[in-house]
Symmetry: C2
Subunit: 252 residues, 2 copies
DNA sequence: GCCATGGCTTTGTCCGGACAATCGAACTAG
DNA sequence: CTAGTTCGATTGTCCGGACAAAGCCATGGC
């Protein structure tokens, strides 16, 4: 008996003229098959040797493709058994995501209003986060983010001087991360802290909540691939309208 | 000039008689060197071919070791340049962690008080999370978690029936996840949602806060490697004493 | 009936080599 | 002096093969 169910051995093929790596092509096709349900959860994937022979690839290439899916949490390998599609509703691992992109992906009609863009001397906390001397002038951007025309979050970002031009027009029509990427900064990692506290009078007014209402807070320092801190953000979200959702994977 | 600084080419060696895979031995040594500062941030690691030759390994093995560190976010590869130690305070990516372990690792003297362990019919929400029929009897565990003898969080966990014995004694002396692992369950992934809301009178009393005080909330459904939901947790944390901290990595 | 053994299947690890793509720096031409 | 080009260095991809380790199942002995 064939692993997947005999009748339809799953159409897979690779294009050797394409510049896309072969292992990546295969991984994409398998991932698509899983998401579309053509590879049901629990399905055995058939052994790597046969799969390689069927596609005219070598075993290392096939392994590299499968390994990338295992790393994503879509599949599980067991020695002596085989590789099977994992049985759950895995979405995607936590990414270094931007609120703007998240809202847009969820069809939430994001909009941004820039409240201020100024230069300010860095406080001790901000200087430490960005790796600058206290008192250095840093860019400050304060924005209000809406979804469906309702205020969702108050965003305060601090950026090192001379990192990036910050035209208000662009800040309103797209996200900060997208602007960074577009100007050649490759984001690498971020350190986040998520907490909660009561709204101040000012925050309550901006977010259309009562003073003292619970707010979700997030502080994030973002680093590029050279290890340089490129942004320190201090954000508050309306707890009544927003929660962080994400998927965790065990490592091993 | 040698990549790291000429004088000390970094002592590396592998033990071929060990059952530990060679790539893993190498990865461990490199990671230790990074953490101890023997490999300074920004340091070039020297090309893979030479490194392989120096250790008597093949290039694929060395690559596998380095790749695992790149996946952890400790190093960055650039074609035509080399591999360098990443320049920042990367700790570790967000894990499927238990509060108990987190507190213990931070030296916070965790303690647990079991408030109840009962069977209850599942509500629609709980049944959906665990993949059971509404009304099925599920285990309910309610605990109060302390750090330094102060209440930190109120933990409510729902577990499928017959999954695990839940002796109160063990629940108080260790974490739930540790008990699961010990009974042969291999945790694989979890879906989390983090939000905030105001404390109810009961929660305020248990946590030594005022009613209406902001609380940090976390809901988590945990799956094992067969995709079966093994736990649904609904927890509240004192926002004045606790925040979630974690590190995010870009994927690419 | 039950348990141990052995064999088969499948993934895990490792090797050695080949060529392509990309980056950075030195070099050259204007 | 500047801009474009070439070239060496380094990682990225891919191949084919070999043996080891682990899990599953059937066989056989008790």
């Amino acid at each position: 008996m064939t692993p997947q169910g005999a009748d339809q051995p799953l159409p897979l093929s690779v294009d050797r003229t394409s510049p896309v790596p072969l292992y990546f092509q295969l991984a994409q096709q398998l991932e698509a098959a899983v998401e579309q349900g053509r590879l049901a959860p629990g399905t055995l994937l058939g052994n790597e040797i046969d799969l390689a022979a069927r596609l005219g690839l070598s075993r290392p290439t096939v392994r590299q493709a499968i390994q990338s899916l295992v790393d994503k949490g879509l599949m599980v390998r067991r020695r002596g058994v085989g590789t099977q599609v994992v049985h759950s509703q895995v979405r995607r691992p936590l990414e270094l995501s931007s609120l703007y992109d998240d809202l847009e992906a969820a069809g939430q009609r994001p909009a941004t209003k820039v409240l201020r863009t100024t230069m300010e001397p860095a406080t001790a906390e901000i200087a430490a986060a960005l790796g600058l001397a206290e008192g250095t002038e840093v860019n400050l951007v304060e924005r209000l983010r809406y979804a469906h025309d309702e205020p969702m979050a108050l965003l305060r970002n601090h950026l090192p001087p001379d990192l990036l031009a910050l035209p208000a027009r662009e800040l309103e029509s797209t996200g900060l991360y997208r602007m960074m990427r577009a100007s050649g900064i490759t984001l690498h990692s971020a350190r986040q802290s998520v907490g909660a506290r009561a709204a101040t009078a000012g925050e309550a007014g901006a977010l259309d909540e009562e003073p003292g209402a619970p707010l979700l807070t997030m502080e994030r320092t973002t680093y590029d691939d050279t290890g340089r801190a490129v942004e320190f953000g201090s954000h508050v979200y309306r707890a009544s309208r927003y929660a962080f959702e994400f998927q965790l994977l065990m490592r091993g």
